[in-house]
């Protein structure tokens, strides 16, 4: 049973202005949580803190009761998968090569073992990207790249998935595909998935929990219908909306002029 607990966390980029303040959160396994909020609310920062990339000045992040920052980078790497990636140009990297780097925290041998290769294959299958496994990564479209990025996290077989805008650049079909898959995988492998998405409705369709952030502080936590109320949305985004609740299509938020 994996659990994340964030206790009274605060983070600042320049020691003056706090990007995140008074964060108290709990995440449980087999749950998909989406962090929503306007630009600059601190969503990516929160993810990076969870990914052990940024160190919070205040408070602690506990993973299964262990302080994240007391763990070694290496141990954390085995558990956490974070999606941000920079694709270098001119190196002629093939997708398979890129994905195999994800196995490094688990690799016991200098070169990939069969187990590692299997994990990579599986991850490609899960995102439906097998057919471009041998393509050069520079030549992928943004949509294809997005799927590969998710595959790279899956290949690592982490317990925690941190996805920053996983649906960016994808058309509606792939958006739904990916979110469905993420939900499936989370449930199947009992992972903790935390992601950021812009589309409120998609967030409501595929998340178990929603966290609404504004200016680094939590406005509301709860299930999608609980959080996505006109009052909350107006407070957070500064626009008047009408909310339609549809069990099949999730929570539909309609901005009013």
């Amino acid at each position: 049973m994996v659990c994340i607990r964030i206790s009274d966390m605060g983070f600042s980029y320049d020691d003056k202005l706090f990007t995140l303040k008074d964060i108290d959160l709990n995440f449980c396994e087999a749950e998909v949580t989406t962090v929503l909020g306007p630009n600059g609310a601190g969503k990516t920062t929160l993810l990076k803190c969870l990914a052990r990339i940024l160190k919070p000045q205040k408070g602690t992040i506990y993973i299964d009761g262990r302080d994240l920052w007391k763990m070694s980078l290496y141990e954390a790497a085995k558990i956490i998968g974070y999606s941000e990636v920079e694709i270098p140009r001119g190196f002629n990297v093939k997708v398979l090569d890129f994905l195999s780097t994800s196995r490094y925290p688990h690799m016991r041998t200098f070169l990939e073992s069969l187990e590692d290769i299997k994990a990579v294959k599986e991850s490609l299958r899960e995102v439906g990207a097998e057919k471009f496994s041998l393509r050069k990564i520079e030549q992928l479209s943004s949509g294809e790249l997005q799927r590969i990025i998710i595959a790279k996290i899956l290949a690592k077989k982490p317990k925690i998935l941190l996805l920053d805008e996983p649906t960016l650049h994808l058309d509606i079909k792939y958006q739904i595909d990916i979110l469905k898959k993420i939900r499936e995988i989370t449930k199947k492998h009992k992972l903790i998935t935390i992601m950021t998405i812009h589309d409120l409705r998609l967030a409501s369709m595929f998340s178990d929990k929603i966290i609404l952030l504004k200016n680094g502080k939590i406005v509301s936590i709860g299930s999608p219908p609980e959080v996505l109320t006109p009052k909350n949305i107006e407070e957070t985004y500064g626009i008047r909306v009408k909310v339609i609740k549809d069990t099949e299509a999730g929570v539909i938020v309609v901005p009013l002029p």
Partner: protein, 345 residues
């Protein structure tokens, strides 16, 4: 469904095949190099004469052992140094056009060497001290390039531009200083501006061997880390590596390898650019394969270049052509070609 297994298997197989082929090629080149020279001494003759101990045979052995062997070995080791340095720098800067010469390391190293010799002429006697000074120069130049690159935008192109600026600056400086060293202190220095293997001594070869073997080993150990940092700091972090540490160590190692080669043979450019590229063309961009392949290829390329220099100098009788000139003649068009194909995209 075993496409992935096949891919990795075949890569491994291809790697060992190419490695074997290049090793054989290198061996032949080595033997060939020992056969080249203005006196008619062939390796076969050496081996047969080694059994006898007449004075004549010892002279011929002297030629091969003291003149050709050090030079051949030096060419190979320096080729390794420059190639590995190139691989390291390309991974650190995430830029396939990066190279120790083009980012100013070589020129910076030479500038500081010249400065040190002018201030304390006796330092020229100790290769050890000269190498340390050279190392500092390379690091300073690299830091300058990186800083300048950040200041003008931090993109891949900025890096190349910054590198060219720093290289140009230090080249001018080192030319000026080299001139002073040569004319006022009567020490051969100008030839180092274009790199030459003609002044290689036996003592140099030992140091080259040590540093290149150490450098190669370290780079190979770091290969996975180098693979990781290419994809960004966050990616490296979530693989369990600290990108800052990797970058600092790799940069220092690259500077060390470059500076030792500059201290002994002067500025030989473009090997660090061409060789890793060729390796990647053959085997893909996995540094676990690229590092050893580049090492072999680097040794081969420089050795062949030097053989060419020795034959040409003999035939044209115009004095020794600096080997750095040859690598520039080959390397500059290659660089231009890369710019055209990569930077446009």
């Amino acid at each position: 469904m075993d496409y992935a297994e096949k891919y990795f298997q075949e890569k491994k197989r291809k790697f060992f095949l190419v490695l074997a082929f290049l090793s054989v090629l290198l061996t032949f080149t080595f033997i060939f190099s020992l056969n080249i020279g203005s006196s008619n001494v062939g390796l076969l003759e050496i081996l047969t004469l080694m059994s006898t101990s007449s004075k004549t045979s010892s002279t011929l052995i002297n030629i091969v052992y003291n003149l050709r062997l050090p030079r051949t070995l030096a060419a190979m080791f320096i080729g390794v140094l420059l190639a590995i340095s190139g691989v390291l720098i390309q991974s650190v800067t995430r830029n396939s056009l990066a190279e120790p010469f083009l980012l100013g390391l070589s020129s910076g190293a030479l500038t500081f060497m010249a400065l040190a010799i002018i201030i304390v002429p006796s330092i020229a006697l100790s290769l050890h001290y000269v190498s340390v000074i050279s190392f500092i120069g390379a690091l300073i130049a690299f830091t300058l390039t990186l800083t300048l690159s950040e200041a003008i935008g931090g993109s891949a192109t900025s890096l190349i531009l910054a590198g060219l600026a720093v290289t140009a600056g230090f080249s001018g400086l080192s030319s000026f200083l080299a001139f002073i060293v040569q004319s006022k202190l009567n020490m051969p220095f100008l030839i180092l501006l274009l790199g030459s293997l003609s002044q290689i001594l036996r003592g140099h070869v030992v140091m080259l061997a040590l540093v290149s073997i150490a450098g190669f080993t370290l780079a190979l150990i770091m290969a996975k880390r180098l693979n990781a940092i290419i994809y960004g700091d966050e990616h490296a972090l979530q693989l369990g590596y600290n990108p800052k540490t990797v970058r600092i160590f790799a940069s220092m190692l690259a500077a060390l390898l470059t500076s030792v080669s500059v201290a002994i043979a002067g500025i030989i450019g473009f090997i660090g650019l061409i060789v890793p590229h060729m390796s990647r063309l053959i085997i893909g961009s996995d540094n676990r394969y690229v590092v050893p392949l580049s090492a072999l290829l680097g040794a081969l390329v420089l050795c062949v270049s030097d053989i060419f220099v020795r034959i040409a100098s003999e035939g044209l009788a115009i004095g020794e052509i600096p080997v750095g000139a040859v690598t520039s003649v080959l390397g500059a068009p290659f660089f231009a070609y890369l710019l055209l194909t990569k930077v446009k995209a």
